[in-house]
């Protein structure tokens, strides 16, 4: 690879991602045109459905909550120089932890159930990420390979457990019984109702606030704390870490534990906040979207929140679009999402190079 590309911060964090999104929408527009639909109408449905109504906005933010957690998970590992592809598996295990805790610790006082459920999600997600972390740190097994393997292990494990162990005997569905009422994170429309404000009901729940708080804490951790400093040294210059007396192995494990715990937030939002039970495939591939979110957000919490909103719009608006314009099927929406991921993630360098070329003058190299 060539030398790192220098450009002003505003261009790096705002301009390049914005260009990527615009380019993605243009290409997606061509796709829509090619199946004989009007891209402008499609865009209107997309935005109308995701932002135009209170209910739509609620769903958008609900999805964004998922994406913030998995995006932060990928970002924390990324700062330590690790590519954690295992968000799916870690979130799956987090869901298992939540369900085990909430359906077995029913003797606890009700107000403890929500924190216990969240901690269980974080702990199980962390543990599932810690194993690949340990293998990378101590054995040199590549984290990309091991986390992908652990996704499969998690998905097979959860099927086995839900079908054979955790399923309610009289139920035909591979899912647990409902969590106790006190363990259900309140919906936002209920919270607002306590204060006498009526907002349209949606799946959006208080986990969204937890996601924002987590974003702030992760910012504080990565950019301001001693531990975050060590994480970034390891990620940016492992030899310098050894020189500085920072153990890369220790930091790799810590970063993966944090990453897995954050992926657990997906389970908190989906299960404790909405489904109120553990069921199959609740992660719905969001763990992978987290990679695109983190890349697009440049691994910075603010960027991740913005990227999560974009993907939230896409998911919610896309569902509306498929409903309103039957020619644009659910699959077509996935294609459009894929194009955005392609541009924001994989082709990010394309525009970065171009923008850098236009903006900054190449520096004299070692002459």
């Amino acid at each position: 690879m060539s030398a790192p590309i220098e450009m002003p911060k505003w261009a790096d964090t705002i301009l390049v991602p914005a260009i990527s999104v615009v380019a993605a929408f243009l290409i997606a527009g061509l796709v829509v045109l090619s199946i004989g639909e009007n891209p402008l109408t499609a865009t209107r449905y997309l935005l109308q459905g995701s932002l135009g109504t209170g209910e739509g906005l609620g769903f958008t933010l609900f999805y964004a909550t998922d994406f913030i957690f998995v995006g932060l998970a990928v970002a924390v590992a990324y700062h330590a120089g690790l590519f954690n592809i295992g968000g799916e598996g870690q979130a799956t295990l987090a869901g298992l932890g939540t369900a085990l805790a909430l359906n077995n610790l029913t003797f606890l006082p009700g107000f403890l159930l929500i924190p216990v459920g969240i901690l269980a999600a974080a702990a199980f997600g962390a543990a599932w990420a810690a194993i690949p972390g340990y293998l990378q740190a101590k054995r040199g097994s590549h984290i990309v390979i091991t986390t992908i393997m652990f996704n499969w292990l998690a998905s097979v494990l959860i099927v086995y457990l839900l079908v054979n162990v955790l399923r309610e005997p009289q139920s035909m569905n591979p899912e647990t019984r409902a969590f106790p009422e006190a363990a259900q994170i309140p919906f936002m429309h209920d919270v607002f109702a306590w204060f006498g404000i009526t907002i349209p009901s949606s799946q959006l729940n208080l986990t969204f606030v937890l996601a924002l708080i987590s974003s702030y804490l992760i910012w504080l951790l990565i950019y301001r704390s001693r531990l975050g400093y060590a994480i970034r040294v390891v990620g940016s210059n492992p030899t310098a870490a050894v020189y500085a007396g920072i153990s890369p192995a220790r930091i790799i494990i810590i970063a993966m534990v944090l990453s897995g715990a954050l992926a657990g937030g997906l389970a908190v939002n989906e299960l404790m906040g909405y489904q109120h039970r553990l069921l199959l495939e609740f992660t719905a591939g969001y763990g992978f979207v987290g990679i695109a979110v983190a890349l697009m957000g440049r691994a910075h919490p603010v960027g991740i929140i913005l990227a999560s909103l974009l993907f939230g719009i896409l998911y919610q608006g896309g569902a509306e679009l498929a409903f309103e314009q039957p020619a644009i099927t659910r699959d077509m929406v996935v294609v459009i999402g894929g194009i955005i991921i392609l541009f924001a993630g994989a082709l990010d360098g394309l525009f970065r190079r171009l923008v850098a070329h236009l903006l900054s003058r190449p520096k004299l190299a070692g002459a």
């Binding site: 790192p4 301001r224 001693r226 970034r232 210059n237 310098a240 020189y243 500085a244 007396g245 002459a367």
Partner: protein, 507 residues
């Protein structure tokens, strides 16, 4: 005599950086012409233009008095210009013949081309004394011989004009002498040599004329016989510089660092340091002289605790350091600080703002923040103060580390380590890639530190630097310490022999 190369009013800009400003250069045929200048003075840019890596924004290149356009290195080779890069462009697993053939194979089948190469190499060997085993694998040759292969490659391609970029950086003094011998015989045969170096001693020893560049401009071209190192240094920097910082004799104090029978094995299982023992006393600079890659780096890293030695132990201020406490963190706490030899790979984090690089190794110090959170304002203020003391330019603590020049990066590292009052300071290559002006500053600091009673262990591949700074000199070769001399009682020739592995007993 007629000029082999003329560069007329060459201009080259990279954005706002004017790397070459109206540069004129004329190199007479059959001479050795030196080009000196600080880092960033524009030497490499100028040579890159001549060799076709860049094209000049304006100006003219004439080879043998004919204007030509050089748009790629192929054009340069056709014009009879050959270049020997500082970092060799060789394929190590291939033999000498195969390397010379590379890019000039002469058809799909190798046999005919190979016969031609062999014949030509035999001729070059007899013409210039360029003896070499043409069937040896290049990776197994010494660095000096690898460089010879590079020169053969250029000559095989018909080079009449040879550009050498810092050719002696990786050579032992004896290998450097052999190279100069070779350059003289090339000159005798009518070849033209352009030598880029920052070692004024070499300029004086071998060149006929020397051109000095400063900030993109050609400031002077003089007959070597009519100039002197101090004059050249002044031309390079634009002010008077001391090439040698004076220091007073001093009686060293108690031992502060004792290394006993240390052996280090690298990741591939190769023995890099073999049974090395040494002592550094308070108020003393001990220099380790040696050609790069003879175990000095590994020795420093092992003492600092970055590498676990397979055998041996160290004592600090006459106390044993137990093996399980021999790590960078603990050694820092004891007061053994380390200016590592590779700033960018080890001593700094290039992607971080300077104020974050300035706490590398010390991020756990309680006073740098509150609890787990670092106080950025404080870090910035701390570094701003140090930048003033050490004359770091620009004095911008929030600027990205990689945007500082080599000398300024080195000052940031030095400030970080020196201002924490070390008892022992390990220093690796303190002035590599550092401008002459900054070298003087760094040398002063190190000597002041020694005068204040700090024990300093200095590793450098610059023999001049070792001889100027050290009180005692150890030589290393092949991982072994091959000799020890008082700096005042030795000379370059003797050290050169020791560095080449001719040990005391044999010498």
């Amino acid at each position: 005599m007629s000029p082999a190369i003329e560069l007329i009013a060459i201009n080259k800009s990279f954005g706002a950086v004017h790397a070459n400003k109206d540069v004129n250069l004329s190199v007479e045929r059959g001479t050795i012409h030196g080009i000196v200048g600080e880092n960033g003075a524009g030497k490499s840019t100028l040579m890159s233009i001549l060799y076709g890596f860049y094209e000049a924004d304006s100006g003219e290149v004439r080879v043998n008095e004919k204007p030509i356009r050089i748009r790629s290195s192929i054009d340069a080779i056709c014009a009879g210009i050959g270049m020997v890069h500082q970092h060799f462009m060789l394929v190590e697993p291939l033999t000498v013949v195969e390397n010379v053939m590379l890019g000039a194979e002469g058809g799909a089948m190798l046999r005919a081309g190979e016969a031609k190469v062999r014949k030509e190499l035999a001729r070059l060997a007899s013409d210039y004394g360029l003896e070499i085993d043409v069937d040896a694998t290049v990776g197994e040759l010494s660095v000096g011989l690898q460089q010879r292969v590079e020169i053969l490659k250029a000559l095989y391609r018909g080079a009449d004009i040879l550009i050498l970029d810092e050719p002696t950086a990786v050579l032992t003094p004896a290998e450097a002498d052999a190279l100069f011998e070779l350059l003289r015989s090339l000159k005798a045969q009518g070849k033209t040599v352009i030598l880029i170096t920052h070692k004024l001693r070499e300029i004086m020893a071998i060149t006929d004329r020397v051109s000095v560049m400063r900030r993109g401009e050609m400031v002077a071209t003089v007959e070597t016989a009519n100039t002197s190192p101090p004059e050249l240094a002044e031309l390079m920097v634009g002010r008077r510089v001391l090439l040698r910082v004076e220091k007073t004799e001093k009686v060293p104090g108690a031992p502060v660092l004792e290394v006993q029978n240390l052996s280090v094995v690298d990741a591939r299982g190769v023995l890099r340091v073999a049974n090395a023992s040494l002592t550094v006393r308070a108020g003393e600079i001990v220099g380790i002289a040696g050609v790069a890659g003879n175990g000095q780096s590994e020795l420093l890293e092992a003492i600092a605790g970055m590498r676990r030695p397979v055998l041996g132990s160290i004592r600090f201020q006459e106390q044993d350091v137990p093996a399980d406490e021999h790590n960078p963190h603990h050694m820092r706490e004891l007061g053994l600080l380390h200016v590592p030899e590779d700033r960018l790979r080890m001593g700094l984090v290039p992607a971080f703002p300077a104020f974050e690089s300035a706490i590398l190794g010390f991020s756990d110090e309680p006073q740098l923040g509150k609890g787990p959170i670092l106080d950025h304002d404080r870090l910035v203020a701390d570094l701003a103060k140090k930048m003033e003391q050490y004359d770091v330019r620009p004095p911008a603590p929030r600027l990205k580390t990689s945007n500082f020049s080599g000398g300024n990066q080195q000052k940031i590292v030095l400030a970080r380590e020196i201002e924490r009052n070390p008892k022992v300071l390990l220093v690796g290559q303190p002035t590599r890639g550092v401008d002459i002006g900054a070298i003087e500053f760094i040398h002063r600091r190190l000597i002041a530190l020694r005068d204040a009673g700090v024990g300093i262990l200095l590793v450098s591949v610059e023999l001049d630097e070792i001889m100027h700074l050290s009180d005692r000199i150890l030589t290393m070769c092949g991982g072994k310490i091959t000799g020890e001399r008082k700096a005042s009682q030795t000379n370059e020739q003797e050290l050169g022999l020791l560095m080449a592995g001719v040990t005391d007993e044999a010498a």
